[in-house]
Amino acid sequence: MSGDGVRVLLVEDDQVLGEALRDHIAAAGHAVDWFTGVVDSMAATETVEYGLILLDLRLPDGDGLSLLRHLRGRQDATPVIILTAHDQVSDRIEGLNSGADDYLVKPFDLDELTARMLAVSRRYAGKPTSTIRLPGIEIDQINRNVVVDNEIQLLSAREWAVLDKLAARPGAIVSKAQLHEELYAFGAEIESNTVEVYISRLRKKIGHDRIETIRGVGYCIK
């Protein structure tokens, strides 16, 4: 995204903020379609393929999450960053569980927005988006759902980033450096043992035997 412009759908009903966001995104070299309501935005997503959606939640004609659920419901994996004045952690968890890729609380710095857009775009670069089925585990990359032995497991954003990378090529070895890079691309500063920490957490949630450690090489999901 840093170099290649994408088409961005901006859904924001506040005129002052919307204008500034539109200009900022355009100045970064992206095309921007700006809508102030759910209905118009939904119509736009059905006719235009966007590279990224910036989505406000409280809109005059409805809830932004309904647009997000509509997109994910029709298997549209366009990355979505929620922009909202709701800072409650329950709203944030609901937003991420509804299929959002990131969540930015107003007011925010435009540089912060740029960084988040870049991070989300990196995660999606060249990545297939589908549902991956392995014995006893189903990973829905679009809706970001993991079902283990018929039970939905809630993963944090970082845990999801690691699982997503491993599940992209089941059985293939993913090096620690690649997972490091994945966490970095996700927008996080990481410590030296971060990969081990998140592998350990994932094993506790999806089963210890499902992620194999290849000593000195990396990890693979079976």
Binding site: D14, H24, K106, P107, S156, E189, V197, K204, K205
Partner: protein, 440 residues
């Protein structure tokens, strides 16, 4: 020192006292009636005895030669005490015959047929038709008193044993009767800002139902008021943040577009807006704390919330690469607190630790079933400074940006969560540093 009045104790004391008093009065009446009845029986006894003895004595005296001196009927010495004594007297009052324990002197009463009484005896006098012979049968009043006392004691001693037994019975009955009040009291006692579930009216006695109904109405009104306040706070947050976000974004665009000569002034506006945003954020959090959103009806697993907040702050410029979490990945610590309140607590403690510690220094977060500890590097703070940090708009000896509200917001929320916030400097087990510990 005054003891808190207890309905149970009052009832037990009052009922027991009244019952014991009634018993004692009843016993008194019983003794009086018994004494009266005893008198009738004893009077009947001495009358019967006198009337039966008189013809026998008359025949006996007529059938033998009369001696000059009176003599006892019983020639053989006897050891048993006589309850009834008698004297047989002639027309002139001389004692002709007497029982063994009867006095040698004539009874000091006239020889007239019927009942009479001296200081020591109750007597009955019977006489022959011609008035030549009289018999006086006497019953000692001591004997009658002894009978009355023994009869009274026979009533009194069982009462002595029955009073403690009745106290126990009354305590049991009162407790059983008052147990619905106890249950209702305990139920109402658990109600607070987090638990406003209606009191269960089913099974309550009819006398207590109006109380439960009133409490439920009050809870409903309180719940509505708190919900309205929370809703208002949430809406205020939204309405306040959006224009600040617009102004900040416009200013940052302005900074990107204005010539360098105006950049400094635009930068001042940006910093002012950022400060305003932080202050508005803290004031909104404070208003939420005042709205009492800390506690909840339901239990929440706190670890995922901690994880989300830490992850969020790690991605900011302030927290990037500086937070180390010491906790089990699958830690499950459930408490009856609102997720958003706990998130505000964690965010404020973390921001406080990050802002008031050297740049790029590590902030350690320890989390377990006991609670949360956040430790950062800092110079050692004295006790007076530590004590003042949780007061509103009070800041420690620092030049770092801050509102002076963060720790007071944390304290308010932690109190609502029935927890405890402790500030330590130096941090536990370290020569220096600052530690904020939240225990639930």
């Amino acid at each position: 020192m005054f003891q808190t009045p207890s309905m149970t104790r009052k009832l037990v004391v009052a009922i027991t006292s009244v019952v014991a008093a009634f018993w004692l009065v009843a016993m008194g009446f019983g003794v009086l009636i018994m004494q009266d009845e005893f008198s009738e029986i004893f009077d009947s006894g001495i009358q019967e005895t006198a009337e039966r003895l008189l013809p026998i004595v008359n025949d006996d005296l007529a059938g033998r030669q009369a001696g000059n001196a009176p003599r006892g009927v019983a020639e053989k010495a006897a050891t048993n005490r006589e309850y009834l004594t008698y004297q047989v007297r002639g027309r002139d009052g001389q004692i002709l015959l007497k029982s063994r324990d009867a006095p040698s002197e004539p009874f000091p009463i006239a020889l007239a047929v019927g009942f009479s009484q001296t200081d020591t005896h109750r007597l009955y006098t019977a006489g022959t038709a011609d008035g030549s012979l009289y018999i006086q049968v006497a019953d000692a009043l001591d004997h009658r008193r002894e009978a009355a006392i023994e009869g009274g004691m026979a009533l009194f001693f069982p009462i002595l044993a029955l009073i403690p037994a009745s106290i126990i019975a009354i305590i049991l009955v009162v407790r059983m009767t008052l147990s619905p009040i106890e249950g209702l009291r305990n139920d109402i006692g658990t109600k607070d800002g987090g638990n406003m579930i209606p009191v269960d009216e089913a099974g309550l006695p009819v006398e207590l139902r109006p109380i439960a109904r009133s409490v439920n109405l009050l809870l409903e009104r309180l719940r509505s008021a708190l919900e309205a306040e929370r809703e208002f706070t949430a809406n205020s947050a939204h309405e306040l943040r959006t224009p600040i976000a617009g102004a900040l974004a416009q200013t940052q665009r302005l900074l990107a577009e204005v010539p360098p000569s105006l950049a400094a002034r635009a930068g001042q506006i940006e910093r002012s807006l950022q400060h305003l945003a932080r202050l508005a954020e803290k004031l909104l959090q404070m208003s939420r704390a005042e709205a009492g959103i800390g506690i909840s009806d339901e239990k929440t697993n706190l670890f995922p919330i901690l994880d989300v907040v830490i992850e969020d702050i790690r991605r900011s410029a302030l927290g990037a690469g500086r937070i180390v979490l010491h906790a089990q990945g699958d830690a499950r610590v459930e408490r009856q607190v609102r997720p958003d309140a706990f998130a505000i607590v964690v965010r404020n403690l973390l921001e406080n630790a990050l802002v008031h510690s050297p740049a790029r220094s590590i902030v350690d977060v320890y989390f377990d079933s006991e609670g949360l500890r956040i430790v950062n590097e800092s110079a050692v703070l004295d006790q007076a400074t530590l004590a003042s940090l949780t007061k509103r708009f009070t800041r420690g000896p620092t030049q770092a940006a801050g509102s002076g509200l963060g720790l007071s917001i944390v304290k308010r929320f932690v109190e609502q969560m029935n927890g405890n916030l402790a500030l330590h400097s130096p941090a536990t087990g370290r020569p220096g540093g600052f530690e904020a510990a939240v225990r639930f």
